[in-house]
Structures are given as C-alpha cells and as structure tokens.
Symmetry: C2
Subunit: 111 residues, 2 copies
C-alpha cells in the first residue's frame, strides 16, 4: 500500500529551517503536508504562482491566504482553491501551521 506515515522521514524535505514538507502522489495527483514552525509572521511570504491547479486544506493553525489582491484569514478545517497561474501566498498567524496542499498535475519540482 502506497502510504506516508505522519512521523516518517522518507519523502520529507526541509524547505528551510522551521518548514518541512512530506508528499505522496499518484500519476496526476500530489498531496503535500507542509509543517510551518516559524510562525507567526510579521509579513506575508512572497507570492508565487504555478500552472498547476491547487486546493489547500488547513489542518492546524491559522493563515492569511492571498490570491491576487484578495486575502482571507483561514482557520482549521477551511479549504481554498487556487486557479492555475494565479499569484498566491500566505502569512502565518499562529506559531504552528499545517497545510495540506494538493496539486494536479503533480509538482515535478517537488520530486
């Protein structure tokens, strides 16, 4: 069975100190668990964009989520969809945040 345990280190990558991601994917669908331990943040992260469709679930903590000129505060259990090529980003509002990012097609740049 193709699974990824919460505490496993395989396929876990430190993005930078205090931030790491763990991923699992099929041919065209990728799920990425991102743990942020460097919040809260005084300012938003720099927005970014990608051609992949994205839907994100807030598993723990709170973020300000930016898409284009719009921003909303998201809480645990909230979901947000990001269209392809749309600049988006977050600002951490709590010390710890866990986001579940999903993409199609898969993010080859994460492999």
């Amino acid at each position: 069975m193709n699974l990824s345990r919460n505490d496993e280190t395989a396929n876990t990558f430190e993005i930078r100190p205090g931030r790491k991601r763990r991923l699992l994917h099929t041919d065209r669908l990728m799920m990425v668990v991102i743990d942020f331990e460097d919040g809260p943040a005084a300012e938003p992260d720099t927005p970014h964009s990608h051609p992949h469709e994205q839907v994100t679930y807030v598993a723990e903590g709170e973020v300000l989520f930016f898409i284009g000129t719009d921003s909303r505060r998201l809480f645990p259990g909230d979901m947000v969809a990001v269209p392809p090529d749309q600049p988006h980003g977050i600002q951490l509002m709590t010390p710890y945040v866990r986001l579940i990012d999903t993409f199609t097609p898969i993010r080859q740049d994460f492999l």
Copy 2:
C-alpha cells in the same frame, strides 16, 4: 476567493445519518472533507472503486484502510494513495473520523 469554511453548510451533503461531506474543486482537482460520526464500526464498509486517482489524508480519528487484499491502520497525519479502478474501503476504528479525500479528475457523481 473560492473557499469553503469548516462550519459552512453550502456544498455540504449528508451521505447518510452520521456521515457528511463538504467539497471544493477546480477544473480537474476535487477535495472532499468527510466527517464520520458513526464509528467505531464492527465491520468494514463495502469496498468500492472508481477510475479517478485518489489521495487521502487522515485529519482526525483512525481507520482500517483496505486496498485490494491489503489493509493498514491509519492514524491522524497519515496519507494513502489509491490507484484508478482499485477496490478500496475503510473500517472506522474511532467514534469520530475526518478524512480529506482528493481526486483527479473531479467526481462528477459528487456534484
């Protein structure tokens, strides 16, 4: 911004008493939050299959997850991938379970 709040009732559907789902999607990517309040279960649900690729995240509770003849107990933070057309199913091991199911392409049968 295309989002779905944890407590919203829009796009929330009662599958049967004690089970409901809430969804958000883009053109080719669907995320479904499923809340099960009818656990634990004495037996597994009947397995099902679909041509969609699926990746599931366990947000709360524990399940036995079945794919074909394989089964594993999944805990919060675990992820599992389901290939297309592979029979799979769950057995609830705790009173409350929340799964985050994601699919590509989108489940037209959920709209």
